[in-house]
């Protein structure tokens, strides 16, 4: 009895996944546990292994196809078994996102509505002149949906609808003017640092994997640059960052805290950790722990700004920035204020590692899951920076490197003490400068009087 290979559902918010690579061809023998294909959501990448042994009888989607979750992707069975019934449950070979095949190209063009901008009419010239969209770009819901699906940046498009509205045909036109890159070529470009050759970088050109050239060759060519298409994650980050700066009133306060206590504790922990008596609690874990304590005392910072109201959380759900190969990911420690220092440390390590391997649950990457975010560039020696808010959160704390700074010591003499830099970005729409500063003062006290109640410390 042949069995269907289903596109798994990775988290409640995931509706479709893109197949990035097939490891088996149609007709290949497959052993249980063999790698079948890789796929990615908009936030993470995954591998799918065969759950049964047999022959890969058919594949219904190819690399680059966007596949709804729980859809049948392929069939494994014995030689000669029928796959028709599985095909029926799959859509009419019409994946959500699919590049038009070569044969289709001319037909597509004919079907598409007229694309040249209409000539102005004497009777109603104002409605016919295509208008450049500005910040108040008007776009029809249908065109917007299409643009987002196909990754077309509509902010720069001239709308040809009534009053300069961007309508479906405007997006279709842009799509037509870009070269058609086959799914395989697109994948290869990403993986192998290849690029579209200059002679193919024009409308309607068909770019296959064989056409691709070394990116450096293009960069060194006549134009002297390479255009690298954004990955989905990069696009997501770009959107998020742009939106954050565009839509909020954010500013940053800097302060530093005496880090002697932290450093002393860290030394102790290191020893205990080597003996296996404690997890390896890092400085970042400790700052996180202090941050959580400070947030609990300033509930006005621990929440979301929602336009007409703020949502303040009873607990702290701490997001923290993780640098991965694919880009920045921000997983969240749910109910972080309920965890001990050790518990927090362990959980943060787990999540960071899941981000690195791409196995993170996408639901834990959503900005609205965290009540506050922490980002740490201390390891790079950064002294001060202005973190960007993870909207709708009200605040984000940047943790900087520890530097010795001159100070009056307890005995009245002057000397240098190690100080850790802290940069708080907050949304001025939700919080004023004084309360934000008071929060930073509390945080400084929590760090300077750090007391994690850990047995053995």
């Amino acid at each position: 009895m042949a069995e269907a290979v289903i596109m798994p559902r990775q988290g409640q918010s995931v509706e479709t996944c893109i197949i990035t690579k097939w490891y088996k061809e149609k007709g290949d023998p497959v052993e249980e546990g063999d790698l079948l294909f890789s796929y990615e959501t908009d936030k993470a990448a995954f591998d799918e292994e065969a759950k049964v042994s047999g022959i890969l009888l058919d594949r219904f989607f190819e690399e680059g196809d966007e596949v709804p979750v729980l859809e049948t992707v392929a069939v494994i069975g014995r030689e000669g078994e029928q796959v028709e019934e599985f095909k029926k449950s799959a859509p009419e070979k019409e994946p959500v996102e699919k590049e038009p095949e070569a044969e289709d190209v001319s037909g597509e063009q004919e079907k598409a509505p007229a694309t040249q901008p209409p000539k102005p009419q004497a009777s109603t010239p104002q409605t016919l002149e295509p208008q450049t969209s500005n910040l108040q770009t008007t776009i029809s819901p249908r065109a917007k949906k299409l643009a987002e699906q196909k990754g077309v940046d509509y902010m720069k498009i001239k709308g040809t609808g009534p009053g300069g509205r961007i309508i479906e045909r405007d997006i279709l036109k842009v799509m037509e003017e870009q070269p058609h890159v086959t799914p395989l070529a697109r994948e290869k470009m990403k993986k192998e640092d290849l690029a579209i050759p200059p002679e193919k970088a024009r409308p309607h050109a068909r770019v296959t994997s064989a056409d691709l050239v070394e990116a450096s060759a293009v960069a060194g060519g006549a134009d002297g640059f390479t255009e690298v298409p954004l990955t989905r994650l990069r696009q997501l980050i770009a959107d998020g960052m742009y939106r954050s700066l565009h839509e909020s009133a954010q500013l940053t306060h800097h302060i530093s805290a005496d880090a002697r206590k932290l450093l002393a504790l860290r030394k102790k922990i290191k020893t205990l950790a080597e003996e296996g008596r404690l997890p390896n609690i890092t400085l970042n874990d400790m700052v996180s722990y202090a941050l959580i304590r400070a947030l609990l005392q300033h509930p006005g910072i621990n929440g979301h700004f929602l336009g007409d109201r703020v949502r303040l959380f009873n607990k702290v759900h701490l997001g923290f920035a993780v640098d991965t190969e694919r880009g920045l990911l921000v997983p969240v420690v749910r109910d972080a204020s309920l965890l001990t220092l050790e518990g927090l440390s362990i959980r943060m390590k787990e999540l960071a590692s899941a981000c690195q391997t791409g196995s993170i649950n996408p639901d834990l990457l959503a900005a609205d899951q965290a009540s506050f975010t922490l980002t740490n560039l201390g390891a790079f020696g950064i002294e001060y920076f202005t973190p960007v808010l993870n909207l709708p959160q009200i605040g984000i704390l940047g943790v900087n490197t520890i530097t010795p700074r001159p100070a009056q010591l307890e005995d009245g003499t002057f000397g240098f003490i190690p100080k850790i830099g802290l940069s708080l970005t907050y949304d001025h729409r939700a919080v004023d400068g004084a309360p934000a500063s008071r929060f930073l003062q509390t945080l400084v006290q929590e760090i300077e009087n750090f007391n994690p109640q850990v047995e053995g410390l």
């Binding site: 007229a114 040249q116 009419q121 409605t127 949906k145």
Partner: protein, 822 residues
């Protein structure tokens, strides 16, 4: 216009004069002693008891309304209670002789009549009939409450049932006679011959006539009594009802055994006030209401004023008038003089009458008068009377306790069952015939001349080359309607059709041509020019159990039947808790060519009213299928037909219009042309202009339009439209209704709401202008034209390369038009 009636100029031009006979006024002057042999002691005591029960029932409601308390039981009743304290003798006298199968219709002030008729029916029905009725009515929910108490017999139980069913209905309880959906002004109970009261003054004035028509046409036993107030004599529908009921044709043209007057009494419960307006002396001019009968027909409607303060005088009158009805000499007009002590409603301070007047009438109070007579004639004693009164109060206290208790008498639970009222709006029945007997027809269907003629017609309108056949060869839209209707006439014996010029003329637009040959007069006839009564009588006919097709010759005349179409036809299924069905198919012909008062598409007006199904077919195939569905159903359907396309052939349905029977479900739109770039949704005859627009779009702009014919307005399944919009992303909605506030706008709103993310532009409505309809020669500037649709697409949806607009559809212009209200 029947040819058998010769209008002889020599006769009608002769000089002469009209003489009137006498109209008796309060001629009954007998005493109780004179009547002793006509009534047993028990009869007289029951008459008295019935009056006491009504008086106390109304007094109880008055106390609850004004003090929130009766006999120590507190209750707040925010709803209406129009009381009839003072009118008891008139109510009991009216009902005393009526049989259960005699029907009464009432007004907003009918609690007394309901109870009187109910008690009369209880007296006449056998115990097993009573039990059967109570057990089966609404699955016995009302009975279950009153059954808990012990009763000395079935009649006692039935009396509690009547009082409780009425009171809990007034209090809007689910255990009431109409699930609490009728309330004080609409409570009724058909098994006892109590048909709807009506909160619209004079509302029963034409509906009751339809009930009498039903009894006559279907040869049912019994008479119909329409109890309406004296002030309703000023209402159009009452006059229309009287005109309809006294048409000569009943006595001149209808065949035996149908020949003769309607079994109907217009009983004006003349309490001498219409709210605060005094009818005699102030708001009317008749002096004595009975006078009106003299002007209506040579029989002067057997009009009479009777003393409604003496129950025996009223009974005497009903005995005599019933005989007149049995002799088929109806209808009868009674002016039953009475007086109400209570105000119009409990909030009425009676500023319009003096204390002296009130006291003078209380001095002659019917209960006091009858009580004195009973004691004087040794029928009863004052002691027994006191015992009776106490017993009535105890009974009402018991009933009231049940009715106010939300555990025993709950209201509809719309939290747990949010659709419970929605589910009652339509009965959605599928019934071949309303009664199982042989329909009366004059010849076999296949011998009908039009049926034979239709056999020779082209049932698909286009020839091999796609060219339309000549009109005379074509099976037309009017033929589709005809086939469905004649088919039903041969299936359903209760089906009748009437309206203006329906018989010999064949309907003003030849839809009924050939029907006259098949149908006797009583199944197809011409009426007075009374649109109100045409629809009102149909409502009464249907609620009694018949199926009926009334016709409004021009849509513009709908206003003349406003109350009937907006307040009566849509409401009664739900207001009765679906005790009543309303199989009325109201044919409405939408004109063109005839200017401002003969060319309006008012589909939107009826689509707005909850409780009506609304269809507007545009092809012969759809017209026949939808008419079949409408006639198979049990709901009121307003069936719009366009005069512009009565002669159109079938251009869409493969194989043409089937000869056999088929139904098109009401509510399903239909794709008339497939397309992928833009959707055009049309209502009614505008379909053909939408198709022309689609041709232009294809030829000049390389756009393929999908044209969907709405076919129905209510109900409407949006699935097809939404699928189309998902594909095209664009929609124009068009029809002949004036654009502002039209149903087209409602459809546009629904599409915007349900398909927002699929839309490439807002849904755009192309309706008629917000003007008067001008003369035919200027109509192209009023009704949507193909180029209007193109302009709207170009300006509001998808600018078309090379298109030159003819209309100004800019935002500024639209805003200006709205600002000016045109």
């Amino acid at each position: 216009m029947p040819k058998q009636l010769f209008i002889d100029p020599l006769k009608v031009r002769k000089p002469g004069k009209i003489t009137f006979g006498e109209i008796p006024v309060n001629q009954y002057q007998k005493t109780l002693a004179d009547e002793k042999e006509n009534y047993s002691k028990e009869d007289l005591l029951e008459i008295y008891r019935d009056m006491v029960i009504i008086r106390e029932f109304e007094t109880m409601l008055n106390k609850i309304k004004t003090t929130n308390e009766y006999e120590g039981i507190s209750y707040n009743h925010p709803g209406p209670a129009h009381l009839s304290i003072g009118q008891e003798a008139a109510a009991v006298g009216m009902a005393w002789l009526l049989d259960p199968h005699d029907y009464i219709f009432g007004s907003h002030r009918s609690h007394g009549e309901i109870l009187a008729k109910g008690m009369s029916a209880i007296r006449k029905l056998q115990d097993n009939e009573l039990l059967d009725t109570m057990q089966n009515y609404m699955d016995g929910v009302t009975l279950k409450v009153v059954e808990k108490d012990t009763h000395s017999g079935t009649r006692e139980l039935a009396l509690d049932f009547l009082l409780y069913g009425t009171l809990s209905e007034i209090f809007a309880k689910k255990t009431g006679f109409n699930k609490g959906l009728g309330g004080s002004m609409h409570a009724f109970f058909p098994p006892f011959g109590i048909y709807p009261n009506n909160a619209i003054v004079g509302g029963s004035g034409d509906i009751g006539v339809g009930a009498a028509l039903y009894k006559k046409v279907n040869r049912k036993p019994g008479i119909v009594v329409v109890n309406i107030g004296d002030a309703s004599m000023g209402c159009g529908p009452v006059w229309e009802g009287i005109s309809f009921a006294t048409m000569d044709q009943f006595k001149t043209l209808w065949d035996e055994p149908y020949r003769g007057g309607l079994p109907l009494i217009f009983n004006f419960m003349n309490n001498q006030y219409g709210m605060g307006g005094q009818t005699a002396g102030e708001t009317m001019g008749y002096g004595i209401l009975a006078r009106v009968g003299a002007g209506v027909n040579p029989e002067m409607m057997h009009a009479e004023r009777i003393d409604g303060y003496n129950p025996l005088a009223v009974i005497d009158a009903f005995r005599r008038k019933k005989k007149i009805l049995e002799e088929k000499k109806g209808p009868v007009l009674l002016d039953t003089l009475t007086y109400r002590y209570s105000g119009h409603s409990p909030s009425d301070a009676s500023t319009y009458r003096t204390k002296e007047e009130l006291e003078a009438w209380m001095e002659q109070d019917s209960l006091k008068f009858f009580e004195r007579e009973l004691v004087k004639n040794n029928i009863t004693t004052e002691g027994e009377i006191e015992t009776l009164r106490k017993g009535v109060i105890e009974r009402l206290v018991k009933i009231l306790k049940w009715a106010v208790d939300d555990q025993i008498s709950p209201r509809m639970d719309l939290v747990s069952h949010p659709d419970e009222i929605g589910d009652l709006m339509f009965s959605n029945g599928s019934v071949d015939k309303m009664e199982d007997r042989e329909p009366e027809v004059l010849l076999p269907l296949e011998e009908n001349p039009r049926v034979q003629q239709l056999k020779r017609k082209e049932r698909f309108g286009l020839d091999k080359n796609g060219k339309p056949f000549s009109k005379v060869k074509t099976f037309q839209l009017r033929d589709g309607i005809f086939e469905a209707i004649i088919d039903r006439f041969y299936k359903d014996p209760t089906l009748v059709a009437y309206g203006e010029e329906n018989r010999d003329w064949g309907g003003a637009f030849a839809v009924y041509r050939g029907l006259t040959e098949s149908l006797p007069y009583h199944r197809l006839f011409n009426t007075t020019i009374s649109e109100g009564a045409i629809v009102g009588t149909a409502i009464g006919y249907a609620m009694c159990g018949g199926r009926v097709i009334p016709e409004i010759m021009y849509c513009d005349f709908l206003g003349r039947a406003g109350d009937e179409v907006f307040n009566q036809m849509p409401k009664w299924q739900a207001m009765s808790g679906q005790v009543l069905k309303m199989p009325v198919v109201l044919r409405v012909s939408v004109g063109s060519k005839y200017g401002a008062q003969h060319s309006q598409d008012w589909t939107s007006l009826v689509a707005h009213i909850p409780g009506l199904k609304v269809v507007f077919p545009a092809t012969p195939y759809d017209a026949k299928g939808l008419m079949n569905a409408a006639l198979q159903g049990t709901d009121p359907v307003v069936f719009f037909e366009s005069q512009r396309i009565y002669d159109i052939g079938e251009y869409f349905h493969e194989g043409g219009v089937p000869e056999g029977y088929y139904e098109i479900p009401i509510g399903q739109p239909d794709i008339k042309r497939k397309g992928r770039d833009i959707t055009i949704l049309s209502v009614g005859a505008t379909l053909y202009r939408a198709l022309e627009a689609a041709d232009i779009l294809a030829e000049k702009y390389d756009l393929s339009a999908e044209v969907i014919d709405a076919r129905s307005l209510v109900p409407f399944d949006y699935t097809l439209v939404l699928e189309s919009v998902k594909k095209t992303g664009r929609i124009v909605i068009t029809g002949d209704a004036s654009e502002r506030g039209s149903y087209l706008k409602d459809m546009a709103q629904s599409v915007a709401d349900l398909a927002f993310d699929d839309l490439d532009a807002p849904p755009v409505v192309v309706g008629s202008r917000n003007w008067i309809t001008p003369a035919h020669e200027l109509e192209d500037f009023f009704f949507p034209q193909p180029h209007w649709i193109i302009d709207a697409i170009h300006e509001r949806i998808l600018p078309l390369p090379g298109h030159t607009v003819q209309m100004d559809l800019t935002n500024d212009k639209l805003l200006e038009l709205k600002r000016r209200g045109v």
